[in-house]
Amino acid sequence: MTQHAPPMSASPADAASPSADSARTVVFSNVSKFYGEVLGVNGVNLTVGPGITSLVGPNGSGKTTLMNLMTGLVRPSRGRISVLGMTTDEPEQLFRQVGYCAQFDSFPRGVTARGFVTGFLEVHGFRREEADRLAGAALERVGMLAVADRKVASFSKGMRQRVRLAQAIAHQPTLLVFDEPLNGLDPMARAESIALFRALAAEGLFLIISSHILHEADMMSDRVVLLNQGYVVAEGSVQGVRAAMDDQPMQILVRCDRPAALAARIFAQELAVEARLLTLPNGDPALLVRARDADRFYLRLNSIVAEGDIALYAVAPADDDLQAVYQYLIGGQGGTA
């Protein structure tokens, strides 16, 4: 078996630690899951806190396995999982606080959207009137109230996805786990769903979302967990993970009036390993710098600007987005984004 390096962590506090408040976190402690001889995930140490956390990785990287593990649908072959201070062996406790929108696109036959969510809430133990009220509220929240009494079988994939979202949030859980929730949604519904996720996170809920769509994951996540071949390869904020990648110099785009002169100064002070003169689409000149130590580069850039002979218009990191991080960490190993 290939030896994998420990995952890149944006901050040491993010890593699993005994001091973490387990009642407010999801903690994986050395968790492995094997399906027979097939690896699901291996040696996962992870702590997930409030806000939106995205699990990102190519197909087969272990995203769904991690989600199924934290919701007790599968059991770890090794290691321990604590979800908001509970074990995953007691669904009757766990699912009072957890809602899971799984990827399985199947429903009981002949069921309507309202009947499905109401039935689910009644199995939770809610009384009929309360279940009706909560189901209505959840369907309204995902924009399905108008078609709530239609049969799910007549819905498009995106509509079915939203019914499953309603089922996951209907009992007002604290932790929401969404497996590829944007799959099958049209652009408008995707934007609405992302807005819903942000609103739920703003209400103090935990959201753990898996996604293939990097820019959407980047846009909605407070932190990401990058997975590849069953291993966590990085975790933390996208910018934090990017900054921790010492072997990949940071790309910084500098807009100024004299990029060539700036490049010369930068090289003279050994601030960059590479600098490229560019012309931006609007015709402005710019300099793309690859710096090993971004903090030192920014500090020295201030000094250069202070000398007054180069007019600086804008400075922005060019590769601290999820796409770049993903490409550096996984792309070279055949991952698909």
């Binding site: 027979g36 649908l73 599968v74 699912f95 199947s106 036959r109 199995v123 939770h124 009384r127």
Partner: protein, 299 residues
């Protein structure tokens, strides 16, 4: 502490029963169950109403012994019309047709599908994602299966009994039911059907959780139950059919090659079946407690 959970569990079980009964009684898949339940009713109705007739002609004489006229009596002469053999014929029919076929295969269909069909349809996870104890889920599903089986097969048994009594005509039937042993017989047959649903239901629900393809073990059980008459008395007791047939008020013919065993008394048969049901449901609960959702592979 435990007692506090009962109202919640009752609500959850009721919700599961409502969902499951709707699926098992009012779904297209239920058609096969309706046909199965109807089969013995139709058979007994045919035997009761389509039968050979015996035409007897006799002379009517007056008080002085003189011939007055001829009297023709048409008598129904089928197996269910003869009061001497009808109970035996019906017992045989009930045993072979209702108990060993309708109740057995009906329970296979109903109870094995409670979990297995949800795995095939990839919808079991919806129950697993609810805040419900898995033991409560087993109880809810079992009760739902029982409601379905009892409804259908009680009607099947009652329908067959209706035509059994109808075969002998209204007056004879009423006499037998109210003045004879008819009422006790009706309740014995219904009770055997109910206990059959209970025992086979628990067995097939549990088998549905332990075997990926439970049809093969179900056929093995079917063979074992059919060959029960050939088994030595000790082995006979490791079957459900032995305890059910022990309850029959009419000795059930087992054939010339049968090894005769003393019937188990009702005070052992009935609690025995109930205890067996409890043990099987406990095993099912243990199994489902550790069950994983992996629709692509082993459940």
């Amino acid at each position: 502490m435990m007692a506090n959970h009962w109202p919640l569990w009752r609500r959850q079980i009721a919700a599961i029963v409502r969902l499951e009964v709707r699926k098992s009684l009012f779904h297209r898949r239920a058609l096969i169950l309706y046909l199965l339940a109807l089969a013995p009713v139709l058979l007994v109705a045919l035997l009761a109403n389509i039968h050979p007739t015996l035409v007897r002609t006799s002379a009517v004489l007056d008080a002085t012994g003189h011939y007055v006229r001829e009297r023709t009596v048409v008598q129904r002469h089928g197996p269910l019309q003869d009061p001497a053999v009808a109970p035996l014929v019906f017992a045989d029919l009930y045993n072979a047709m209702i108990l060993r076929s309708v109740v057995f295969f009906g329970c296979v269909w109903i109870f094995m599908n409670l979990f297995r069909a949800e795995l095939v349809d990839r919808s079991l996870h919806f129950y697993f994602l609810a805040a419900v104890r898995r033991e409560v889920l087993v109880a809810g599903k079992f009760i739902a299966g029982l409601v379905t089986a009892l409804t259908l097969f009680s009607m099947s048994t009652a329908g067959a009994l209706f035509f059994y009594y109808q075969a002998r005509g209204y007056d004879a039937a009423m006499r037998d039911i109210w003045d004879g042993h008819g009422m006790a017989q009706v309740f014995t047959y219904l009770g055997m059907t109910w206990l059959g649903c209970l025992g086979y239901g628990a067995l097939f629900l549990t088998m549905g959780l332990f075997f990926r393809n439970p049809i093969v073990p179900a056929l093995v059980v079917y063979g074992w139950e059919w060959l029960n008459f050939l088994l030595p008395p000790v082995l006979k007791k490791i079957s459900i059919i032995h305890y059910l047939t022990s309850l029959s008020r009419v000795p059930l013919p087992e054939g010339g090659a049968a090894i005769v065993a003393v019937p188990t008394p009702a005070y052992i048969s009935i609690p025995g079946l109930v205890v067996m049901t409890g043990v099987l449901l406990y095993l099912a609960s243990r199994r489902i407690r550790s069950m994983e959702i992996n629709y692509g592979g082993e459940a």
